[in-house]
């Protein structure tokens, strides 16, 4: 992918955006008087703001790039991450869990665990969350710096520094409030920056009907576009139906996932584990100005979340449809090949003999360092032998003959294709906004958990509020620096991202069982929760060591102890791992709780456990603000979307 240069108009749009987000931080800095103002927004923010921030904090650059990539690889089935893997959990959080998070006056989810169980459970959750947050932020920073390097030719270090500096300035100035307010601005920037790309792409492929028609032809022969290995074929609706291919079985859909793993693994364990317990998103709801606002926060967020597939997944499907149309002169970007390798491959084409196509294909493939389409290389060599082609022409031929796809480049390739100067600046700013919202979310969650759940709880107790206010600011700077360190770590090691995400999976998979039992079964003890959570994490690692996904070698991808089970895809392996870890954690917690004595009385647990807490009566608020009513309406809309794309 050749780097392109920004026009003056693009820089102007970028500068305007940066000026406004820093301006918001500066404006809010005068209200930062206490640690509560800085770290928890003093519970003062209205619903529509916390709701949009809730969704924006989750909408990092990795999601935008990754969902477009998944849209190309798997089609509309990717929407399961929204309609199955998010909306039900967000409704559950709003209706059943927010009353305990908000009503307990806990300042963080680890602090809720301390109030419900004991310091051991809080400590385990806080340390795991703090470490994961830093690495998540680092991975996102690394991905963005690489994107800017590919797209604009910006130096990796410069891209990393400039983006981190902007986030640091506005978070340091205005704390969580600044992060939340800028997340609202970033939400609109992301939507308005990417919407024209989707519109132009759909128009280019001839509309929705023409796109699905093309995708049906691709599904029966996905290897023609390098989407799958040769010999693999699906039913025509594999890229255009969300449920039919999944219900047909793991081998009948490009995700390689069966219905049980999809519903229980993704839809229950992973989804509820993330949306209902991850402090990064729950923190936004906890900053709301009252109980009703806190409960409605995830519901406000669920509205755009439900329709995001049309913004972030459809571009991937458009890319596949465009690639299947020869007259569109587009292909899903191939893996990035260095200029040095292109030069070697051009020489290989020039020196190859058309009478020895097998040798020519091998020489060119070796020079490029990627898999190539033999027929395309053979015809390129023949064309060059017939009439000497220019280096530019040969390079173009080589680019189109690479038989591998770099799916993460899909969204960038569409931005480059459809955005002239001006709109390009807007789309680029949207990409930066998504990165900044994700990073600010991570940093503000990290500084709250570190200050309240680690520093104040274990290291320096009983100091003045001013002390913790200053500590929160220092930890913000430390968090950014650690994130940058994590980014360099991810850049340094090819499989760093695999390892980090693997650890995320181990820790995240069982956590919902701990919260679920804690909130809804008063008999759960601190010892049961602590050992159950540990057992769940250990069982994740054990499951991973005994299983592998088809096509992977034993090692960081699993199967390093013994090969007990092979899954059709990594996604299926991850979903089953989550289901297994949840069941182990849940069972262990129940058994150990029954065998141990609770240290908490019923009075201690009031406001923390469902059966011991007076139910909230919503009589004095309008029907359209009642969480249960709104939740049911959202669930019905979500079901309708599932049926439409069945």
């Amino acid at each position: 992918m050749q780097a392109i240069h920004l026009a003056a108009i693009d820089y102007l749009i970028l500068v305007a955006y940066v000026a406004f987000v820093i301006g918001i931080g500066w404006k809010l800095s005068r209200y930062m008087k206490t640690s509560s103002d800085f770290l928890t927004s003093a519970r003062s923010i209205p619903t529509w703001v916390t709701g949009l921030a809730f969704i924006s904090a989750n909408l990092g650059a990795l999601e935008l790039v990754g969902m477009a990539a998944s849209g190309a690889k798997y089609g509309i089935s990717t929407a399961h991450f929204y309609w199955v893997g998010a909306i039900p959990a967000m409704i559950f959080l709003a209706v059943f869990m927010m009353p305990f998070y908000y009503g307990s006056k806990a300042r963080s989810t680890p602090e809720y665990l301390k109030m419900r169980f004991d310091e051991r459970v809080r400590g385990l959750n806080a340390v795991a969350f703090a470490v994961m947050t830093i690495f998540a932020s680092g991975i996102s920073m690394d991905a963005l710096a690489k994107l800017l390097n590919q797209l604009l030719g910006w130096n990796y270090n410069f891209a990393l520094l400039i983006c981190s500096a902007v986030v640091l300035v506005y978070v340091l100035k205005g704390g969580l409030t600044s992060a939340i307010y800028t997340e609202v601005l970033q939400f609109f920037m992301i939507v308005l920056g990417f919407a024209p790309v989707v519109y132009l792409g759909l128009k280019d492929v001839g509309g929705w009907g023409a796109m699905t028609h093309s995708l049906k032809a691709v599904a029966v022969n996905p290897s023609s576009l390098g989407l799958k290995d040769a010999g693999i074929a699906y039913a025509p609706d594999a890229w255009t139906s969300a449920w039919t291919p999944v219900l047909a079985g793991a081998s009948h859909n490009p995700m390689g996932v069966d219905w049980f793993a999809m519903i229980f693994g993704l839809g229950f364990v992973l989804s509820f584990g993330y949306w209902c317990t991850n402090f990064l998103v729950v923190q936004r709801a906890m900053a709301a100005k009252n109980m009703t606002a806190a409960r409605n926060t995830p519901l406000v967020a669920a509205v755009p979340k439900m329709f995001f597939p049309f913004l972030v997944i459809i571009p991937g499907m458009i890319a596949v449809a465009l690639t299947s149309m020869p007259d569109k002169n587009y292909r899903i970007p191939p893996p990035i090949v260095s200029e040095e390798n292109y030069a070697k491959a051009i020489d290989a084409v020039k020196s190859a003999s058309p009478s020895e196509p097998v040798a020519a294909v091998k020489a060119v493939g070796d020079a490029l360092g990627v898999k190539v389409a033999a027929d395309k290389i053979a015809s390129l060599v023949a064309a060059n032998a017939g009439s000497k082609l220019s280096d530019t022409k040969i390079k173009e031929g080589l680019y189109n003959s690479i038989a591998e796809n770099y799916y993460s480049g899909v969204i960038l390739s569409l931005i480059k294709k459809y955005c002239p100067p001006g709109l390009f600046g807007l789309a680029l700013t949207a990409l930066l906004a998504s990165f900044m919202s994700g990073m600010a979310g991570n940093v503000t969650a990290f500084n709250t958990v570190f200050t309240y759940d680690l520093y104040q709880a274990y290291f320096v107790k009983g100091k003045s509020d001013r002390h913790y206010f200053i500590t929160g600011k220092v930890i913000t700077v430390v968090g950014i620096i650690l994130s940058m360190g994590a980014a360099y770590f991810a850049k340094q090691y090819d499989n760093a991202m695999d390892i980090i995400q693997l650890v995320f999976g181990f820790v995240n998979a069982p956590i919902f069982a701990t919260f679920l039992l804690g909130m809804f079964w008063k008999r759960t003890t601190g010892t049961g929760a602590f050992l159950g959570l540990f057992g769940g994490i250990a069982s994740s690692a054990l499951f991973h060591s005994l299983t592998i996904a088809h096509g992977n070698l034993p090692g960081v991808k699993g199967g390093y102890l013994h090969l007990a089970q092979e899954f059709p895809s990594e996604m299926a392996q991850n979903f089953w791992l989550a289901a297994f870890a949840f069941i182990v954690c849940f069972s262990l917690t129940v058994v150990i709780s029954l065998a141990t004595k609770s240290q908490k009385t019923d009075a201690d647990l009031k406001g923390l456990v469902y059966s011991l807490t007076p139910k909230i009566v919503d009589n004095n608020i309008p029907i359209y603000q009642k969480p249960a009513v709104v939740g049911i309406v959202l669930l019905i809309v979500c079901i309708i979307l599932n049926v439409i794309f069945w």
Partner: protein
């Protein structure tokens, strides 16, 4: 916290919309792309949309007070 977020959102999108409209008018050729056989001055069209959205936000902020 004393900040109506609609002000910065409205001002920013009004400014960006105006910039894109200006560019779309002054550099019409550079702002026009060919999609499905149709020429579209996308900067002009989307600039107007952003200006409208920004104006809507500002109107809400003005009417809503602080």
């Amino acid at each position: 916290m004393g900040l109506d977020i609609r002000w910065p959102i409205g001002l920013m999108f009004t400014l960006i919309g105006a910039l894109m409209i200006g560019y779309g008018v002054l550099r019409a050729a550079a702002s026009t792309i060919l999609v499905a056989g149709q020429s579209i001055n996308i900067n002009l069209i989307w600039g107007i949309a952003l200006l409208g959205f920004g104006g809507f936000m500002l109107l809400g902020a003005i009417k809503g007070g602080k």
